[in-house]
């Protein structure tokens, strides 16, 4: 996209990111993602981002129902997030929500979340549940609202703009140990689903808990994700998006880029800091900078997916 003064908000957001050091831009060239630190790349990075066509936006960990000190108004910050998405110069074709839509899986929380999310200009919203969405005694609230896409299994795939999206569920674990679990049935389904795709098809995998082990003592990982990785290696471009840890952690392994998104509700401590992965209370003026979304654009020449993190600050 050329430099268009008519759309100052995106430009300003990128500048803000550039100077605040709040994000990393990924550009895929020749099948390999190259991270560019926006704080270093400055105008050059924003120029690259502007070439891209918005593909989708990832929203995560909205935790509707949370009302503690770390953010007494999660509905307000979700509303601001939605305003941020709606103000993007070009509307993304779809939204991906990587789970923890609600805080306690309660019907009123789901109702409010759905009501707020309906304010998105983009009406196509794809979801996976977080463990906070499947915490009701009967594990039915999430599926009664969002289960249709997956036949109530929680995992499904779809195609958009030549990109193949695979939604996975890794929060229905009933064994101690802490890490997320995909399970043999889902892994077999994923193998079959990916088998028929050509190696040049860009793949986007999304699930709530990280699909690589970030910090095992806090359960920040998925125990059997190592069985998923061999299915992905032959593809030239794989983007794995997760939430759960309320902060950005990223890794590039071969052609696979792993990225966790910020929450729109509250930040969590860095791995191992404190008793556990609970809400982190920041001074109020620092909260908006710790909340945000990930915007994914497609760059055509060379074909690429670019990840761009935007905050509410």
């Amino acid at each position: 996209m050329p430099d268009r003064p008519a759309h100052p908000s995106r430009r300003d957001a990128l500048k803000c990111l550039a100077f605040g050091g709040a994000g990393t831009l990924f550009v895929l060239a020749g099948g390999v993602f190259t991270p560019i630190d926006l704080a270093m790349a400055g105008e050059e990075a924003s120029t690259v981002a502007k070439r891209g066509r918005p593909l989708f936006v990832q929203i995560s960990d909205t935790h509707i129902g949370f009302a503690k000190d770390a953010n007494p108004d999660v509905s307000g910050t979700l509303a601001r997030t939605i305003a941020l998405v709606n103000a993007l110069p070009e509307a993304p074709a779809l939204i991906v929500h990587t789970g923890d839509i609600t805080h306690l899986s309660r019907p009123a929380e789901f109702d409010l979340a759905q009501q707020l999310l309906s304010g998105l200009r983009t009406t196509e919203v794809h979801t996976v549940p977080g463990e906070h969405d499947t915490a009701d005694a009967t594990v039915t609230e999430y599926f009664s609202r969002f289960g249709q896409a997956s036949g109530n299994r929680g995992y499904y795939s779809f195609d958009h703009a030549g990109v193949h999206f695979v939604a996975l569920i890794n929060v229905l674990q009933f064994k101690p140990g802490g890490l997320g679990t995909l399970g043999p049935e889902q892994l077999a389904w994923a193998a079959a689903d990916l088998k028929s795709r050509s190696a040049s098809t860009p793949i986007v995998i999304f699930a709530h808990m990280p699909l690589w082990t970030i910090y095992e003592p806090w359960g920040w990982g998925t125990g059997d994700a190592d069985q998923l990785m061999p299915l992905l290696r032959r593809f030239g471009s794989v983007t794995v998006l997760n939430g759960h840890i309320h902060q950005i952690v990223q890794k590039v392994e071969g052609h696979v880029t792993f990225h966790t998104a910020r929450s729109t509700a509250y930040p969590q401590p860095a791995a191992g800091e404190g008793a556990g992965p609970g809400p982190l209370k920041l001074p109020p003026e620092l909260l908006p900078g710790s909340l945000g979304i990930t915007s994914v654009s497609e760059v055509k020449h060379p074909r690429a997916l670019a990840l761009n993190d935007l905050t509410l600050a």
Binding site: K68, H103, L104, S105, R106, E131, H132, T134, A135, D136, A137, Q173, F174, K175, P176, G177, G178, L179, P217, W218, G219, A275, G276, P277, G278, P279
Partner: protein, 114 residues
Amino acid sequence: MTLGNGRILLPILCATLLGGAALGARAWAEAPTPETVVIKDFMFAPMSVTIRAGAQVVWVNHDDEPHSVLSETGLFRSGALDTGEKYSFRFDKPGTYHFLCSIHPRMAGTIVVQ
């Protein structure tokens, strides 16, 4: 005090009525206050509790983060417990019952019912 009196009087009444059904009376007399498992700092405390058959266990969440109580066998499941919320379950059969938090499955505990 009323509760305490009731607890003592009832077993005596039972014992009298049943003409020496001492075992039943004993069970009544020892109907304990429920064992409490406190959830704090992403841990169940104590991690292991031993109770008699028929006794209740109460879990109470003292964390800022919600937790849940989920039996490994599916026998009981609390749903999300927010700060200060409680869940109780009565264990009628002797055995060893493992449970965990479905939100943070590294948190685990055991109830031993004698």
